[in-house]
């Protein structure tokens, strides 16, 4: 009986309806949190004693980097569920994740490069975090490329799901090998703030941004999943009812 909610999640019409109703509950809190985080991070938080006001890029870089990893994990989990239980909805979720994750990985790379630039004197360094993000971007692009190579949605779903699961096993391996590689060569690493711990005035806006971005991802996912679910249903009877204006 506790499994009925799980089975309802597998039902495309149910997901289509519920996702539509839930979207504002994610979108508005996300907007508020992000707005609050921006005010807190750009105005209220004090300058860093080492990096001055330059550290404020943290408030967009850290959420972007967080998104890039969280979205990939979500994508891999959804893909795994779709593979094991053959759930169309799970595959729809995985498909929805990829463009979101890739774009935020790109944002993390650019904001990370901009953050380091005044400190490094160059726009790029093979910093372990940036290098890992770059590799992650390629993993996303590979996933999306594999998807688009198949005309039939079902096969695209299952093949790319396998790739996502293989990829997620590799992500920690790649990440630690990159850290190991970097440590051998004593390259400079920025993205640490001057103090060992962050005061609340700096920390709270950061947490607000992280939570706000997460909820924003939720809202985006809800919208995209509806679209993906629709395109996976042929001419099912529930669509006529659901799309009635």
């Amino acid at each position: 009986m506790t499994w009925t909610w799980f089975h309802r999640l597998a039902s495309p019409p149910h997901v289509y309806r519920v996702a539509g109703r839930l979207t504002p509950w994610f979108a508005w809190p996300a907007a508020l949190l992000i707005l609050g985080g921006l005010i807190g991070g750009l105005v209220l938080a004090p300058p860093d004693y080492q990096q001055g006001d330059g550290y404020r890029i943290l408030y967009v870089h850290a959420p972007s980097a967080w998104m890039s990893l969280m979205v990939y994990t979500t994508m891999a989990v959804a893909a795994g569920i779709g593979l094991i239980w053959r759930m169309k909805v799970a595959h729809a979720v995985a498909a929805s994740c990829a463009p979101i994750g890739a774009s935020f990985t790109f944002a993390a790379l650019v904001t990370g490069s901009l953050w380091g630039a005044p400190m490094w004197g160059t726009y790029w360094q093979w910093d372990p975090r940036l290098t890992s993000e770059l590799i992650l971007l390629f993993l996303y692009l590979g996933y999306m490329g594999l998807r688009s190579a198949f005309d039939e949605v079902q096969r695209a779903d299952r093949v790319s799901a396998l790739l996502a699961v293989v990829g997620v096993i590799n992500v920690p391996i790649i990440h630690y090998s990159v850290i190991w590689w970097n440590s051998l060569h004593q390259a400079p690493s920025v993205m640490r703030l001057g103090k060992p711990t962050m005061p609340p005035s700096m920390l709270v806006p950061l947490l607000m941004m992280l939570l706000g971005f997460t909820l924003f991802f939720g809202a985006l996912l809800l919208v995209r999943v509806r679209g993906e679910v629709l395109s996976r249903e042929r001419a099912a009877s529930w669509i006529r009812e659901a799309l009635r204006p």
């Binding site: 590799i135 490329g145 198949f150 096969r155 790739l163 096993i169 391996i173 990159v178 190991w180």
Partner: protein
């Protein structure tokens, strides 16, 4: 017939078929040699300049050559229906694909490992480093064949999958590159290179247990 016996048959078959087309086996090696040659031409003929970058150049070239060689793994069997026969044979597809990957390594990885010391010499590497280079490339190509088999299986039904296969496989190959190059670097400076070698072995073992399984799943999806 047990899965292992069937696997042995597949291994023998693949080796036999490959020997009939020996010219095809040379191509990845030639590619490896050419790519290695590009770096002195593009950078400098001075061995003192090439020696420090030799590990990176060797391993980048090895990764690319291994990638090229992946064409040989599934393509023909997919085209003439042999792979389909394997899938419906009732034998474990995982074991059969593991056998194919083993054959692939014997046909491409081992020759690469034998060539790599020569490429090293061309890049100014001292003689004491050669055993280390051979060992690390031999071990690394095991992992590369296994990782590559996953990508090859995933793109089985994709036409002209070369660029996509590279995009899928090369990021996953990066740990092999990092540890292999480190082993080579240590070998060149005469230090002990056991630690990165062990890491390479660990990746190979992980690949041995997981890659044929993933490849079998991918093949089945593509044959549906």
């Amino acid at each position: 017939m047990s899965a292992f016996a069937a696997a042995r048959l597949v291994l023998a078959r693949d080796l036999r078929l490959a020997f009939r087309k020996r010219s095809q086996l040379v191509q990845p090696l030639a590619f490896f040699a050419i790519v290695t040659m590009l770096f002195p031409l593009g950078i400098s003929p001075e061995l003192s300049v090439l020696r420090p970058i030799a590990p990176g150049v060797l391993w980048a070239a090895a990764l690319l050559a291994a990638l090229l060689a992946l064409e040989l793994l599934f393509r023909e069997d997919a085209q003439d229906g042999t792979l389909e026969q394997y899938a419906v044979s009732g034998r474990s597809l995982t074991w059969l694909l593991a056998a194919k990957t083993a054959a692939h390594w014997l046909l491409t990885g081992v020759p690469l490992a034998l060539m790599a010391p020569l490429a090293g010499i061309a890049l100014g590497v001292p003689g004491r480093a050669l055993p280390g280079i051979l060992a690390s490339v031999a071990l690394g190509t095991v992992a590369l064949s296994l990782i590559g088999s996953i990508g090859a299986a995933l793109t089985l039904s994709v036409r002209r999958s070369g660029a996509l296969l590279s995009l899928l496989t090369l990021p996953l190959d990066i740990p092999v590159l990092i540890f292999g190059a480190r082993a080579t670097e240590l070998a060149i400076s005469g230090e002990a290179y056991g630690a990165p070698l062990e890491l390479l072995a660990a990746i190979a073992v992980l690949g041995l247990t997981l890659a044929p399984l993933a490849a079998a799943a991918a093949v089945r999806i593509n044959l549906e």
